[in-house]
């Protein structure tokens, strides 16, 4: 009995040593990861070409006060607000880079420079600028922010306000999380993550650069809904939608809306198919859809925005909603399986049907 208890002591000590060792190992890992993050936070930021142009245009420098050249040019007044520290400037620059190039395809150290944002989205081509065009700050030819263009500065000034789509009072951090979950079928980063903080800093800077005031609703914030009442009241029709799509959209997004990728860079995003993770963001015909038409009408086609009428936008959105794409978290396993099957079956079938149509057009007498 005594021998047993004596032999149990080293075993117990070994167990304690193992537990303490494992936990200390975790702590050392945390220290190392923190040190790496700190280093990245202090490092100078390589801006993407778009961000370089945008932030230089808005005169972002570390100083005690900030004067927006944009406000001066548009309003003719000199608006001075509190300036930014070196640390703030780096944070804003990183935020702009994240919005412009989420997965770090333009970065030297890839995803690491973007705080590993690729962990939180699905697919290799998902990025913010597909919805938040021009780095979340789209302007028309007259230099005015485009109405219904998902402007990030306008979104920041509505932080902690009632969100009409989710029905919640949402902070800017939570709004960003919704993007990860709904617009990319992804996972939400922790709200204290640099990824969220930097984009928040960038959005906040945009609001200062555009002289947007807290709590004000701006036309460029979010999307303009196009309800049925704003159409020609013919009812949404995906056949008409397919026709308009082929005419106005297929040149860029491809005949089956699978997007255009050249040398690993997304020139035009996929609106359907395996790289389109947008089913939870109203790209599903089963969802009452007045948002997607709003996005199309205000932001598409690039360079000819506003050329489509409301009914066309509703038809295109309805057509796109019928195309197969990976299901989101809300649809459940049956829809997910069905979508997977359709993604395999539909493209060859559509190609075949279109080839029949072409033959028919070429030989009307047949």
């Amino acid at each position: 009995m005594e021998a047993k208890s004596v032999s149990a002591v080293p075993a117990k000590l070994m167990k304690i040593a193992l537990i303490v060792g494992a936990l200390c190992g975790l702590y050392l890992m945390a220290l190392s990861s923190h040190a790496e993050r700190d280093q990245l936070r202090k490092a100078s930021v390589d801006l993407t070409p778009n961000c370089k142009a945008k932030l230089e245009g808005y005169g972002l420098v570390a100083a005690e006060h900030y004067r927006s050249p944009y406000v001066q040019a548009v309003n003719g007044v000199d608006s001075t607000v509190r300036g930014y520290s070196e640390q703030d400037v780096r944070s804003i620059q990183r935020g702009c880079n994240i919005v412009d190039d989420l997965q770090g395809q333009l970065a030297k150290r890839g995803a690491r420079e973007r705080w590993n944002a690729d962990r939180f989205v699905r697919g290799t081509y998902t990025t913010c600028i597909h919805c938040h065009q021009s780095g979340g700050d789209k302007h028309d030819t007259a230099g005015k922010p485009v109405s219904g263009s998902n402007n990030l500065g306008a979104s920041w000034v509505m932080a902690d306000m009632y969100d009409r789509f989710s029905g919640l009072i949402m902070s800017h951090e939570l709004r960003q999380m919704q993007c990860y979950i709904n617009a990319s079928n992804g996972f939400k980063p922790n709200s204290a993550d640099d990824l969220i903080r930097d984009v928040t800093a960038y959005s906040r800077f945009l609001s200062a650069a555009l002289d947007q005031k807290m709590g004000q609703r701006y036309a460029e914030q979010g999307l303009d809904e196009i309800p049925f009442s704003a159409t020609r009241r013919r009812g949404d029709d995906y056949v008409r939608g397919a026709h308009v799509y082929r005419e106005k959209c297929a040149n860029c997004h491809g005949p089956q809306a699978l997007g255009m990728v050249v040398q690993g860079k997304v020139l035009y995003p996929a609106l359907a198919g395996p790289q389109s993770f947008t089913m939870d963001s109203r790209m599903y015909f089963g969802t009452l859809n007045s948002l997607m038409p709003g996005f199309i009408c205000r932001n598409m086609p690039l360079g000819a925005e506003g050329s489509l009428d409301n009914q066309d936008c509703r038809d295109i959105a309805y057509y796109l909603g019928t195309l197969p794409r990976p299901a989101g978290d809300r649809q459940g396993p049956l829809v997910a399986a069905w979508q997977q099957v359709m993604m395999g079956v539909m493209p060859p079938l559509t190609r075949y049907a279109e080839s029949l149509g072409r033959n028919h057009t070429e030989h009307p007498g047949d």
Binding site: K15, C24, Y27, R119, K188, N190, D193
Partner: protein, 533 residues
């Protein structure tokens, strides 16, 4: 006269009372940090909800359940379920959230009451076997570890349910990359101190409290040297509302109705999770201590308590096997132990509130991690891997918690329970030796296809069969009809249902009887013959 009798009994009562006081103190010390951790870290409710569950929940269940060792109180799984169910409905710790939590507990209590009133429904709970319960418990233990990761590192709790493993992995990476290092240090000190203290026999029952004390001491040291404004460590704080009792009302109004309807499946989950654990814990305790208390008494105690507790700002209650075993192993032999522990806890809270208020949240998260790890006990799981059926049921139950939500896990668990028991019943052990077909199990509509298949094989091979159903437990009407039809076929004989010894004895008696009868007959014949002559 009666007062004199009482005084005469005092010398015998006092030592017993002193013993119960010591056990009650230990139980209170074990329960206090858990109760606070359950409410703040898991359920998303202020700390007094856990404390009142440890006071009123323990007291109610001790009074309502006649078992000597039954101990109710706040429960890990039920607290976690409240957090998971209500997270999408309202922001945690807010007034709406508290109202919905009380409504949820009340509805769960009323559902549990149905299991008392409708007797067969209560009996259904006995179908939940150990592999299912252990699978659920292990899965929930793993979930608790993942769930407390963000609190452990002082990070904000994300506002959607942290259930899938992938999100748990993201939380782990967040701990490493952006966790508050001060928080991680406090959590680690709590964990290490508790784990080391648990290895020392004399400190085992106090291990969690010692860990929390060490974590709190380090947190106070940090506050003194670095400052709370720099450490940014969340503390429990504000126990001013804790008094003898704090009445509350569940939220029932027209505006809340759509949310209340949406949490109904959650209420069913909560009710079933409590009942599963109570029934399993009572059965296990009955076996351990060699006594018997009907588990329906436990169901009754849970149901009544959970209908009352929402009006007292308390978490729901159910049996805890670990606490029951602790009481028993310390020598607790009466319900007074639990009642005394509740009263000691009340006194501790009333007088030690300022100390409880400075406990850091990472220490509470570490407590939850420890409890989660304790729920995964290899000694409990090991026996299930010796039987293929049990292995499948255990794994399915475990994986359903890990990959589905709690409601899904409870549904899978219930379906598995019924499916497993029916599968076992429908597969009697049938052996064919020579022409004897022995059936061990049930002969009923679901097992007949299995029996008939073997029976026809035997008939084809042997020509005739003796069916031995001496070890059959149950034969239903369809079974009787089949046996009758088989017997009518002239190729079947039935072996006697009694054991061979009984059969031999019976045959000996029958032979003796036969002999006696034939002797009597012979005597009668002789007499007849004599009379004829």
């Amino acid at each position: 006269m009666s007062s004199l009798a009482f005084l005469r009994a005092l010398p015998g009562v006092l030592p017993a009372l002193r013993g119960n006081l010591l056990i009650g103190l230990t139980l209170a010390v074990v329960t206090l940090p858990q109760a606070i951790a359950f409410s703040t870290t898991l359920a998303g409710l202020p700390p007094h909800f856990g404390i009142y569950a440890a006071i009123w929940g323990v007291l109610f269940t001790a009074l309502l359940n006649p078992s000597r060792v039954f101990s109710g109180g706040p429960n890990t799984t039920m607290s976690a379920a409240i957090g998971v169910i209500l997270l999408p409905v309202a922001p945690q710790f807010g007034a709406d959230y508290i109202g919905y939590a009380m409504t949820l507990i009340l509805i769960a209590g009323m559902i549990q009451m149905l299991f008392v009133i409708i007797r067969p429904l209560g009996r259904m709970l006995d179908l939940i076997n150990e592999p299912i319960i252990n699978g659920l418990i292990c899965g929930i233990g793993l979930f608790l570890i993942f769930k407390s990761l963000t609190g452990f590192a002082g990070l904000p709790i994300n506002t959607q349910v942290e259930w899938p493993l992938w999100i748990a992995w993201q939380s782990f990476m967040a701990v490493l990359e952006i966790g508050n290092l001060y928080a991680i240090e406090i959590g680690l000190i709590t964990l290490i101190t508790s784990l080391v203290a648990r290895q020392i026999r004399a400190l085992r029952n106090w291990a969690i409290l010692i860990g929390v004390a060490a974590g709190t001491a380090y947190s106070e040291y940090l506050n003194a040297t670095v400052g709370l404004q720099n450490t940014m460590i969340e503390q429990i704080a504000n126990l001013s509302s804790v008094g003898f009792v704090l009445p509350s009302l569940p939220l029932f109004n027209q505006e809340a109705m759509s949310d209340i309807i949406s949490i109904l499946p959650g209420a069913v989950t909560l009710a079933l999770l409590g009942l599963f654990q109570t029934v399993a814990a009572m059965r296990r305790m009955n076996r351990k201590i060699g006594s018997y208390t009907d588990s329906r008494k436990g169901i009754f105690a849970d149901a009544v308590s959970n209908c009352l507790l929402p009006f007292l700002s308390s978490l729901p209650t159910c049996a805890s096997f670990n606490r029951m075993w602790l009481v028993y192993s310390l020598g607790g032999q009466s319900r007074w132990t639990s009642a005394i522990s509740a009263l000691i806890l009340l006194l501790m809270v009333l007088f030690l509130a300022p100390l409880i208020a400075i406990i850091p949240m990472p220490a509470m998260a570490a407590v939850i991690m420890l409890l989660g790890a304790n729920m995964i006990n290899w000694e409990d799981i090991k026996p299930h891997f010796r039987n293929r059926g049990e292995t499948v049921v255990f794994l399915a139950s475990f994986l359903s918690v890990v990959f589905l939500d709690l409601f899904g896990a409870v549904v899978v668990g219930s379906v598995l329970a019924i499916g497993y028991s029916k599968w076992e019943q429908a597969h009697p052990k049938i052996s064919l030796r020579g022409n004897v077909l022995k059936i061990r199990g049930n002969v009923y509509y679901a097992s007949l296809p299995v029996i008939e298949s073997m029976y026809h094989t035997a008939i084809e091979r042997e020509g005739s069969v003796v069916i031995d159903f001496s070890e059959c437990y149950y034969i239903d009407q369809e079974g009787i009809r089949w046996l009758a039809a088989a017997k009518a076929g002239q190729k079947v004989a039935f072996a006697d249902r009694r054991k061979s010894d009984d059969r031999r004895e019976l045959e000996r008696r029958a032979a003796a009887d036969q002999k006696r009868k034939s002797g009597r007959r012979r005597g009668r014949t002789d007499r007849r013959q004599r009379s004829q002559f």
